[in-house]
């Protein structure tokens, strides 16, 4: 079966803020479904979203959303997108119900339908009981939900979520991710989840594009990026760990420190027996050994080109 055509495609895209180049010749695509946009702060994720919305004009390259160029037809693009910005956004003095209905109306919905949808969406995001309170009085978690509701109200084809779990406590974060998963999986809405938190992206998305310093560092389905391409072991040793790790490096393995030991990425075609042989040669005891899969964090750190010792 042919792969579905992407909702958004960008090719050799360069965007700069004056002398500062935020995106440098990046290419990629967002297919239908949930896709993560991952990278440290300042990597260029938000710049890409803002270019997609037509807020920024690229210096060079192309970007196309739903077959439309945001530079020439920004309104048509924006009406099909729901944008949840990273920063706080609300209208002072407005209740959540009025705020979300207003957002719907700004998206082109008739007033009556916008009001009706606002109530539905606010119930959906869990603000049903609090919808007549002004957004100014909301907690951070509630404000995040109100932001999500205003992005959803016109039922966009593509939802852009910029750091949706920012400032949330662990429970709030779990609830927000559950909501986003529901939107994506059960409501079949495509979304781009922009985050610097690996777990958020890993939990929600099928594919990921990793940005670093304005360039695409890695991209692809998360399953393929983190799949059992090579063996990974969490290891704890007792004795001269430095010698053990140096020997592993000589054998083509990579490693990085983990919480209480080391995460070792085996060289192609090697197995755990190499670990035991190397440990014996280095005179250390293997006190803990657990096989694991390469996580998105590993991919992320490797894509960023540091942290992993090889």
């Amino acid at each position: 079966m042919a792969a579905p055509s992407p909702l958004v495609e960008f090719r050799d895209l360069t965007v700069s803020y004056g002398p500062l180049v935020a995106l440098s010749g990046v290419s990629g695509a967002f297919p239908p479904g949930p896709t993560g946009l991952l990278g440290p702060n300042g990597a260029g994720k938000t710049t890409l979203l803002k270019t997609l919305l037509g807020f920024l004009k690229p210096d060079s390259g192309d970007i196309v959303a739903f077959g439309l160029d945001p530079r020439t037809r920004p309104l048509e693009v924006r009406r099909r997108i729901g944008y949840m910005p990273e920063v706080d956004c609300h209208i002072p003095g407005m209740t959540a119900a009025a705020f979300v209905a207003f957002a719907g109306e700004l998206s082109g919905m008739p007033r009556d339908e916008a009001i009706s949808r606002a109530h539905e969406v606010l119930y959906y995001v869990g603000l049903g009981e609090a919808r007549y309170r002004t957004v100014d009085t909301y907690s951070t978690g509630m404000k995040q939900r109100a932001k999500l509701a205003q992005a959803l109200v016109h039922d966009p084809d593509l939802l852009l979520l910029d750091e949706p779990t920012n400032g949330l406590d662990p429970q709030g974060r779990e609830e927000m991710l559950a909501l986003i998963k529901d939107i994506s999986r059960r409501r079949a809405m495509s979304l781009i989840l922009c985050s610097h938190l690996l777990r958020d992206v890993e939990e929600v998305c099928d594919g990921v594009i990793v940005f670093n310093q304005g360039k695409v560092a890695a991209r692809g389905p998360i399953a393929a990026l983190t799949g059992p391409r090579r063996s990974v072991y969490d290891v704890r040793v007792k004795g001269d760990a430095a010698a053990f790790l140096t020997d592993l490096k000589d054998l083509g393995c990579e490693w990085r420190e983990s919480e209480d030991g080391y995460r070792v990425f085996m060289a192609d075609g090697t197995g755990p027996e190499v670990l035991f042989q190397t440990a014996r040669a280095a005179g250390v005891q293997v006190r803990y050994l657990r096989p694991g899969a390469e996580s998105l964090e590993d991919v992320f750190l490797r894509a960023l080109g540091h942290e992993v010792e090889a």
């Binding site: 803020y17 004056g18 002398p19 803002k50 919305l53 807020f55 920024l56 920004p74 309104l75 048509e76 924006r78 009406r79 997108i81 944008y83 910005p85 920063v87 706080d88 956004c89 609300h90 209208i91 002072p92 003095g93 407005m94 009025a98 207003f102 957002a103 109306e105 700004l106 998206s107 082109g108 919905m109 008739p110 007033r111 339908e113 949808r117 539905e120 969406v121 119930y123 959906y124 049903g128 205003q150 959803l152 016109h154 039922d155 409501r187």
Partner: protein, 281 residues
């Protein structure tokens, strides 16, 4: 389907893009501003002069000799709008200062600009709020006063000789309201705090008025009026309504040019400041 799952349904009825997109912005902002009782009070006070002038018109039509002291003619409308300028200042401060500043502070600007709206739609929407409020204390009462004068003294006002009053009222009210509204919006866009923007507007308008007063005292020339927004408006109003005042006696083109430059400057500021992305160079 369980009830809890019915709270989200797809919305399929997407229509064509609207041609008039600024109206919801104007309407909602007006609703929020008019929900403040203090502001409603300000608008009501703004109509106080109208009542006084109605009594004046009535009294002069009944007792024509009063017209020697309180003439009811074109000058009365010029004086009426001159005094109403004070209310447009307060409306611009209390109603206009937060219009853009608050959106910049709370990030609401992104809610607007991430929709199918242009920056022009946004500015038009906000400008519509101030125009509506300012016209409600200038054009509306002045035209109503004119209609009352027409009704009470048709022999005086329903003549070709005074037919210019109606268009003059409309023109001066529009210029006055537009300049004040643009200035207030531009200053609002320069700050993230409504309070700072309000003080900025107050300082700008009254500061220039003080400069005008000083220049006038030192040089005793009508050109001093050109440095002040109020002076320019007064000078233009005097020309329109035939009021003779040496302090503002200038060819109409001079104040009109200054007000045009100020308005264009305000539009340039709005163009630079109303953006979804703040670029710090």
């Amino acid at each position: 389907m369980p009830i809890y799952e019915q709270s989200y349904r797809r919305y399929e009825a997407r229509g064509p893009l609207r041609t008039v997109r600024f109206w919801p912005i104007t309407r909602e902002a007006l609703r929020l501003i008019l929900s403040r009782r203090a502001f409603l009070g300000l608008l009501l006070v703004g109509w106080g002069q109208f009542l006084v002038r109605v009594v004046q018109v009535y009294a002069v039509t009944r007792f024509p000799q009063m017209g020697n002291v309180l003439p009811v003619d074109g000058r009365m409308f010029g004086q009426f709008l001159g005094i109403q300028t004070i209310f447009t200042l307060f409306i611009s401060i209390f109603g206009g200062a937060g219009l853009i500043a608050n959106d910049l502070r709370t990030g609401a600007i992104l809610v607007y600009l991430s929709r199918p709206l242009t920056r022009r739609d946004y500015v038009l929407g906000k400008l519509g709020v101030l125009l509506a409020l300012n016209l409600s204390v200038t054009l509306v009462p002045a035209l109503l006063l004119y209609l009352i004068a027409l009704a009470l003294a048709p022999e005086q006002f329903a003549t070709w000789k005074l037919a210019w009053i109606g268009p003059a009222v409309v023109l001066h009210s529009l210029v006055l309201s537009l300049v004040m509204s643009l200035l207030s919006l531009a200053i609002s866009s320069l700050s993230r705090s409504a309070r700072v923007a309000g003080l900025g507007f107050f300082g700008f308008v009254f500061g220039l008025e003080i400069v005008r007063g000083v220049l006038r005292a030192v040089y005793d020339r009508p050109e001093a009026a050109l440095v002040s927004i109020q002076g320019d408006l007064q000078s233009l109003g005097n020309t329109l309504f035939g009021i003779t005042d040496r302090a503002f006696h200038l060819p109409w083109a001079y104040p009109a040019a200054v007000l045009a430059v100020v308005s264009l400057g305000c539009l340039a500021v709005l163009r630079a400041r109303v953006r979804a992305v703040e670029i710090v160079r």
